[in-house]
């Protein structure tokens, strides 16, 4: 049984090329991937993660709203009593990456990260903890 991954786009950003490529790469690596589509609120994402019993959540945002939206999404998810692996991706400058890691994200990738790195991060997490 492959792990279940939610690829989610919080916020109003409608550019989903990256999110879709990430979803496909994860599928090609044997994961069951649920894509939420664009324009999701943190609460919508949290309920999705709960209902799908997701093991991993990949958030993607390209509009620069990650500092507000990512921690808020993590908060909503934790409120429901679950704690999947939280990965943040998008146009995230180095200094923000630190801040996100301190605010509930487990892994954060900046711009230009190949999707394969996300697969590696999940695999590493599976090997060490699950």
């Amino acid at each position: 049984m492959g792990k279940k991954v939610i690829v989610a786009k919080p916020g109003l950003d409608g550019h989903d090329r990256q999110a879709k490529v990430i979803a496909r790469v994860l599928k090609d690596n044997g994961y069951d991937v649920v894509y939420t589509g664009i324009r999701q609120t943190p609460s919508q994402i949290a309920q999705t993660v709960l209902q799908e019993s997701a093991d991993v959540v990949v958030l993607n945002n390209l509009s620069g709203a990650h500092l507000e939206l990512f921690p808020e999404t993590v908060r909503k998810i934790k409120e429901l009593g679950i704690s999947p692996l939280m990965i943040g991706t998008g146009v995230i400058p180095a200094e923000d990456q630190e801040q996100l890691l301190n605010n509930g994200l487990d892994v954060v990738f900046g711009p230009g990260t190949p999707p394969q790195k996300i697969v590696e991060a999940i695999k590493e997490w599976e090997n060490t903890t699950h």
Binding site: K20, G64, A65
Partner: protein
Amino acid sequence: MGIEEGKGKWSELYTKHIQKHAERQKVFALDSGLVLDPVYDPTNTKTDYESDLSWPGMYPFTRGVQPNMYRGRFWTMRQYAGFGTAKETNERFKYLLEQGQTGLSVAFDLPTQIGYDSDHELSLGEVGKVGVAIDTVEDMHALFDGIDLSKVSTSMTINAPGAVLLAMYIVVGEETGLDRKVLSGTIQNDILKEYVARGTYIFPPKPSLRLIADTIEFCAKEMPKWNPISISGYHIREAGANAIEEIAFTFANAKAYVDEVLKRSISVDDFAGQLSFFFASQNNLLEEVAKFRAARRLWAKIMKNEYGAQSDKAMMLRFHTQTAGSTLTAQQPLNNIIRVTIQALSAVLGGTQSLHTNSYDEALSLPTEEAVKVALRTQQIIAYESGVADTVDPLGGSYVIEHLTDDLEKEIEKELDAINKMGGAVAAIESGYMQKRIAESAYKYYKGVADGEKVIVGVNKFQEPQEDQSFRVLRVDPKIREEQIQAIKNVKAKRNNDKAEKSLDLLNKAAKDENENLMPLIIDAVKNRCTLGEIMDTLRDVFGEYRPPVVF
């Protein structure tokens, strides 16, 4: 020695040569799938000079839409800008004009683009982020404060609420003493590509098309210098489409708009001249130059043969070009300056009417002032130093360019036919066809890079181990949302609420009647200080909201 004989001799020589020294690649293919021969010659193209190429400014405009192109005036150098509040963006505009920029281009934040006021729940974290926040006409006044709107042309990247932003621009003009007739500029107003690639849609296709036709009809009658739509392949390309799909999908969308306007009692020659286009320019210079030329020729044929256009203006493909943000790399960002230069050069060699050059730091954040300046200087160097602007269509007649122009035109036509058979652009979008094609191309591109077949300098070849990413990043103050919310409160407190409500009521009623043009009512609502969100909510109530199909 005749050409055929010579070619035979070369062919022998070539075969012998590559047996000894293998070529770098088995196949030299473009991203669009076309394959390049080792060399081109006059036998490769069946182009008839008079009918296929003709002269600049003459049908089918393959060589350009003006008789002398850039010998008269350079293309408009138009850098897309906007962030934070209207006041901050206004300062950036003034800076750019001082630096020699010749047109303005406004980027709006996402709440504005999706028709939410800054105080809406969904605006959290987004206010002022990817562009300027506009809630009321007062913001619009601040945005253009001290800029003479009769002297500058303004392009606005706004789609679903395009009619409202145009109305705000008109009202700002009128409240500063300018007749709407003298205003020149463009609203993007291209909803179909939002469904396909960019995602800032609000309403379903049918009412969206009606609203767009309303603006086109309104401008045809009242704003001769305004382009009421900029039909955009740019975002389609950026989302992953190849060059053929970019043009084919754009033209399919364009035809849907033309068809919609033609349902009204207005002739194609009355409005087609005000249609403008917007394309991307990527790294392959030959493919891009040929693409622009092929697009110009094909559009002229479509307008003439399919729509019976009579005036030259209605057949001319006039377009804005932007260099391709998706090709910029976060790694070794200074390399992006070179990429942008090549792409900008393609656009100029392809005969663009205006150009935005991306800033080298865009893969990392909003561009800093320094990076914007280098981008603008890139255009100025091409214009003043390279010499390519001094004669028209300098690559015309090149064997490979003419060959690629022919081939691309054929392939684009094929794709257009396929979409026609599906029932046109709207059907192809609702079924997810275009989205599917784009996602496939994007994935193919990704695989090519991941497998190393496609070389990206600094990314999968010539990488640097320890990369220093410590450079200046432009930040938007999160307090901007509070400021905007306060500003909305002020406007609402000062306005005549009865008048505002009444204009929204009238708009609601008119929206239910398909025969009514909504532009005048939207202008009234704007004048009465209704907010963008209020106006869009009024229309949401009548039109409903679009839900996308599931496509990977």
